[in-house]
Amino acid sequence: MDNNILLLVLICLPFLGAVLYYVMKKTGVLYAVLTVMTLLMAYMVYIYINEGTLTLSIDGLFGTGVSFALDGFRVVFCTLTVIMWLAAMIYSKDYFRPGYTDEILGKKDGGVSTFTFFGLLVFGATLGMVLSNDMLSAFIFFEVMSICSYPWVSHFGTTKDMRAAASYLIYAVVGGLVTLTGILLLQHEIGGLDYSYLRFVGESMSHDRKMEIFLPCVLIIFGYAAKAGMFPVHTWLAQSYEAAPACATALLSTVLSKVGVIGMAVVCSSLMQGCYEWGMMILILGLITMLAGGLFALLSINMKRILAYSSMSQIGYIIVGLGTSCILGKADAQGLSARGAYLHMINHSVYKMIFFIIVGMIAVECGRNLDIHKLRGWGYHKPFLKLIYTIAVLGISGVPILSGYVSKTFIHEGLVKYLELIREGITCGGTSSEAFVKTLEILFLVGGGCTLAYMLKIYIPLFWCRPEKAAEVAQTVETDEDTEAFETKQTSGVVYVILGLLATFALIGGIVPEYTLNQLGNEGADFFAIGKLTGAYEYFSVENLKGAGISLAIGIVLYLVVGKNVKKNVIPSWLSLEKILYKPILLTILPTIGTFFMRIFDWCIEGPVYFIRKTILKDNSIEPKPHKEHIKLQEFMATGNLLAKSVSFGLIMFATAFLVIMIYLLFAMI
C-alpha cells in the first residue's frame, strides 16, 4: 500500500470515529479511535524517519482540491496534537464523572457525549489543518475546527457562558470570512496558494511587490490571529477559556491557539520573509499581546482566567519570535527567533496541559468558582501534584534547566541579535533606531517577568499556604459532604502518569537541549525557512543566563509588589475592547445604519402604492363569496379522497421517473 494515503486516513479516522460515536454512543469507540490514532502516528513517525517527506493531493475534494504534506515540522506538531488529545480525552473521563458536570447541566451524562463527539471532529480538522500543504485546504480545515469547537465553549449553557460562546462564534465566522477574502485576493494577485509556491514567490519578490500584497496578507492572518488570541482580536479568549470545561480549555489553549499561530507562520515565513514593515507590525502586536496578557493575568483572581491570560501572553512570545524572524530574514542564519517561537509552541502546549488538568481537578472538587483565595492550601498535602506544578511554573517562567528556558532564550536572542545588527549599521531594510529596539527588548523582559509573577500568584496560595483557613471555607460550602462522595472525586492513576510524563519531557528538554529540543528544532527548520542549528550552542552561556536572570528578577519584584496584593478583581468590567468598541459597532451601529437604508430600498416600490391607496385611491375591501360552481367542485372533490392520494402518488412517480430520464439524457448529451 502506498504510504501517502495514510495521511488521509490520519485525518479521516477521527471524523469516522465521531460518526460512529454518535451512532453507537459507546465510550469504547473513543478509546479505539485514540489507540489507532496513536499507533498510526507512531507508524507515521517511523515512515518519516525512513522515507522523508510524504505528500498527497486529492483533486476534487471540497471542489477546490486539497493537498497534504508530512514534513519534519508536521510530524512534530501532529505527534504533539495526538498526545494532547490523548491526554485531554483520557482526562475527560475524570472530569465528567458523576457529581460535577451532570449536576450543573442537569443532564445525565454531564454532556460528555457532546464533548467527545465534537472533540473528535475538532481532532480530525486540526490534523487536517496542520497537514495541509496549501492555503485553501488549510483554511477549510481551520474553519471546520473553529465551528466544531463552539459546543465546547457553550458547554455549560449559562447566560455568561453563552455570551462567551457567542463571542467565540462571531470571531470564528468573521475571522473565517476575512481570511477567505484575503486568500481570494492573494490567489488573484500571485496565482497560486501552494506552500512551496508561496515560498518561491516570497523569495523572488521585490519589496515593492510585497507591499502590494500587504493587505491580502493582513486579511489572511486576521482569522488565524483571532484564533491565536493576538491583540487586538483577543477579546474572546479569556471569557471562552473560562466558560469551557477544563479538558476543552486545555485543548483550546494547547493546540487550537497554536494552529492559529501556524496559519500566521505560513505567511510570515514565506511571503513576507524579510519585509521590515510586516515584521515590525507583527513584532509590536506580539509585544502588546504579551504585555497585555501578562498584566491582565497579574490583576485577575480567577485561576482559570489567569491561565487564559497567561496563554495569551505566551502566544505573544511566539508572535514576537515570528515577527523578529520576519525582520531579520536571511540575516539571522541560525533562525534563532523562529526556532524559539516554534519550540515555545511545543513547550507552552506541554505546560498548559499540566496546568489545565490540575485546574480541572480543582474544579471537580471545588465547583466552578475558582477564586484563588478560596482555593488556598488546596495542594498543601498533595506532594506529587506539588512537584509537577512546581516544574510547570518554573518551566513556563523560563528558569534554566527546564525546557521553557531554551525557547524563551532563543526568542530573546533573536531580539538581541537584531540589536547587534543595528549597532553594526545593518538596518534590515528598516528605519528603527537603536533606542527603539532596546526599548522593545526591555519590554520583552518585563513581559517575561510577568509570567513568573502571575504564576507565583496562583502557585504560592495553592501549594504553600496551610489549608486550615481553607478548610473553614470548604466546610461552609459543603457541610454534608460525606467521605464516600469525596472518594469518588479522586483522580484516576492514568492522569497522574500523564502529568508525570509531561513534566519529564519538560525536565529532559531543559537539561539536555542539545539532544532533544535541538533535534526538534532542526525538524522544523524547513517549514519556518530557517537554517539548521549545527554544532553546539551555548545554552548556558553568561549572556543567555543574564537575560533570564533579569526577567526572573523583574518577575519576583512584580509578584511581591502587585501580584500578592491583588485581593479582588481590579480590572473594571467595562475595560474591554469588545465591550466599548467591537460589540457596539458590530451589533448596534452598523446594523442600524444598514437597516435604515435597506428599508428605504425595500419600500421603493410599495411605498408609493401604499401612499396612493391611503390618499387618492381609497378602495373598499371586498370579501369574496363562494361561487356555486366552486361549491359543486368542493362537493365533487370531497367524494374522492382516493383522487388526491393517487394524484399525489402519481406525481411522485412521475417526478422520479422524470429525474431518471433527465439524468440519463444529461450524460447522453455531454
Binding site: G63, G106, V173, L180, L184, F601, A655, L659
Partner: protein, 436 residues
C-alpha cells in the same frame, strides 16, 4: 415539437443541457416535497386544490425549462407565476389573500416589463427568436440599434428578475412566504425563483450573448442592483422576528448571489452561480420544510419561541443545522465553493466594472456574516435553551416519517455535495465554457 400561434409566435420545445440540469433539480425537489406534503397536509381541508396547482406548477416549469424560443418561455413563465400564486392563497384568509395578491401584482408587473422587451425583440427581428448557446442574434443585426436592444435586455433582466427577487421587484417574497403553507414556500423559494434565474440565463446567454452585454451600462446597473439586493436581503433578515419571513429575506439575498454571479458575464462567475442555484435550492427547501415541521408540530412562528426545540426534534434540527451551516458557506459545506467561484469571477472581471465587482465581493462576505447572524441563533437556542427554559423537561415530538425522510435525504445530499462537489462542478464547468 412545434405549434404555430401565428407566423411569428411559434410554440416550440427542445431539450438542451441547461434545461436538463434545471429539470433534474426541479423534478428531484418536487418529488421530495411531494413526499413531505403527504405528512403536512394530512388534516388539511383544502389539500386537493393545493395538489392540483402543485401538479400544474410542475408542468408549467417543465414547459418553461424545455421551451425553445423566447415566446414559449415567456408564456410558460406566466403560467408558473399564476399557478404558484395559488399556493399563497391556500389558507383563504385575509393575510393569505393579501400575500397572494401581492405575488400576483408583482408577477404581472415583472412579466409586463419583460414582455416589453420580448415584443421589442420580435418587432425588430421579424421572425422566430430561438435559443442558441452564445446568443442567437448576430452582431451585425445588433449593432444597428444597439441602444434599443440594450434597453430591451435590461427590461428583460429586471422583468424576469421578479422571480430572482432583484431590487425593485423583491418585495413579494417576504409577504408571500409566511402565509403560504410550508411545502408551498419551499417550492416557491427552492424552485420557482430558480425559474427566474433560468429565464435570465436564457435571455442573456442564449439570445443576446454575453459579449453584447459585457461592459455596457446594462451590466453595471445589473451588478449594482444585485449587490444592493444581496445586502438588503440579509440585513433585513437579520432584523426579522418571524422565522419564515426571515427565510424569505434570506432568499432575496441568496438569489442575488446567483444574479451577481451571472452579471459578471464570465465563466467563473457563471459556474459559481450555477452551483449556487443547486445548493441554494437544496438548502432553502430544507430550511422551509423545517419551518413547516415546527409550525405543524408546535404552531410556533417567532424565532424567539424556539428555545429547546432542538431537544424535542433532534433529527429536524440536525438537518436545519447542516443546511444553515451550508448556507453561510463555511467550508467545506457547499456554498463556500459557489462563493469562491463568484468571488474569483468578480476579481477576474476587468474593465470599468472591476471596482463594483470588488465591492460586490466584500458585500458577499458581509452578507455571509449576516447569514450566520440570522440562521445560527435559531439552532443554538434550539439546542441550548436560555436559562429560564433550561430546566424544563423536553418531550420528543419528532414528526412522522413522511416529513423526516425527505429532510434527511436533503441533508445527506447537501453534505455529499459539500464534500465531493466535483461530480456537479465538472459538468457545470464544461457546460459554462460552451455558453460564453
Amino acid at each position: 415539437m412545434e405549434y404555430k400561434l401565428s407566423e411569428e409566435f411559434i410554440i416550440k420545445y427542445q431539450l438542451d443541457e441547461l434545461g436538463v440540469i434545471f429539470a433534474i433539480l426541479a423534478s428531484a425537489m418536487y418529488a421530495l416535497i411531494a413526499i413531505y406534503q403527504i405528512g403536512y397536509f394530512k388534516k388539511d381541508e383544502h389539500k386537493k386544490s393545493y395538489i392540483v396547482f402543485f401538479v400544474l406548477s410542475f408542468l408549467s416549469i417543465i414547459s418553461e425549462l424545455f421551451s425553445a424560443n423566447l415566446i414559449t418561455m415567456y408564456i410558460s413563465f406566466e403560467l408558473v407565476s399564476l399557478t404558484t400564486a395559488m399556493f399563497v392563497f391556500h389558507d383563504r384568509n385575509k393575510e393569505s389573500r393579501k400575500g397572494g395578491f401581492r405575488i400576483l401584482y408583482f408577477s404581472m408587473a415583472g412579466a409586463f416589463t419583460a414582455l416589453f422587451g420580448v415584443f421589442t425583440m420580435y418587432a425588430n427581428k421579424g421572425g422566430d427568436i430561438p435559443f442558441v448557446k452564445g446568443g442567437s442574434l448576430d452582431m451585425e443585426f445588433l449593432s444597428g440599434k444597439s441602444d434599443v436592444y440594450l434597453i430591451a435586455a435590461f427590461l428583460m433582466i429586471i422583468g424576469f428578475g421578479v422571480k430572482t427577487a432583484i431590487l425593485p421587484y423583491h418585495a413579494w417574497l417576504p409577504e408571500a412566504h409566511p402565509v403560504a403553507p410550508s411545502p408551498g414556500s419551499a417550492t416557491l423559494s427552492g424552485i420557482i425563483v430558480k425559474c427566474g434565474a433560468f429565464a435570465v440565463i436564457r435571455t442573456i446567454f442564449y439570445v443576446f450573448g454575453a459579449d453584447f452585454i459585457r461592459g455596457t451600462w446594462v451590466q453595471t446597473t445589473w451588478m449594482i442592483l444585485a449587490i444592493i439586493t444581496i445586502f438588503l436581503g440579509s440585513m433585513l433578515a437579520y432584523r426579522e422576528k418571524i422565522f419564515k419571513k426571515r427565510l424569505a429575506y434570506s432568499t432575496v439575498s441568496q438569489m442575488n448571489y446567483i444574479t451577481f454571479g451571472l452579471s459578471l458575464l464570465n465563466v467563473t462567475g457563471f459556474i459559481g452561480a450555477m452551483i449556487h442555484v443547486i445548493l441554494h435550492s437544496l438548502v432553502k427547501i430544507t430550511l422551509f420544510l423545517v419551518a413547516g415541521v415546527i409550525i405543524h408540530k408546535t404552531g410556533k412562528k417567532l424565532v424567539e419561541e424556539y428555545d429547546g426545540l432542538g431537544r424535542c426534534m433532534p433529527i429536524t434540527f440536525c438537518c436545519y443545522t447542516i443546511a444553515s451551516v451550508t448556507l453561510v458557506g463555511i467550508p467545506p459545506a457547499g456554498t463556500f465553493l459557489s462563493k469562491w467561484y463568484i468571488c474569483r469571477g468578480a476579481l477576474n472581471l476587468g474593465g470599468a466594472n472591476h471596482t463594483i465587482a470588488v465591492i460586490g465581493m466584500v458585500v458577499l462576505m458581509v452578507s455571509a456574516l449576516l447569514t450566520a447572524g440570522y440562521l445560527f441563533p435559531v439552532f443554538i437556542r434550539g439546542y441550548i435553551p436560555r436559562a429560564e427554559f433550561a430546566k424544563k423537561e423536553y418531550e420528543t415530538c419528532e414528526p412522522s416519517a413522511w416529513m423526516t425522510v425527505p429532510l434527511v435525504i436533503l441533508a445527506v445530499l447537501i453534505l455529499a455535495l459539500g464534500i465531493y462537489p466535483s461530480v456537479v462542478t465538472d459538468v457545470l464547468a464544461e457546460f459554462a465554457a460552451n455558453v460564453m
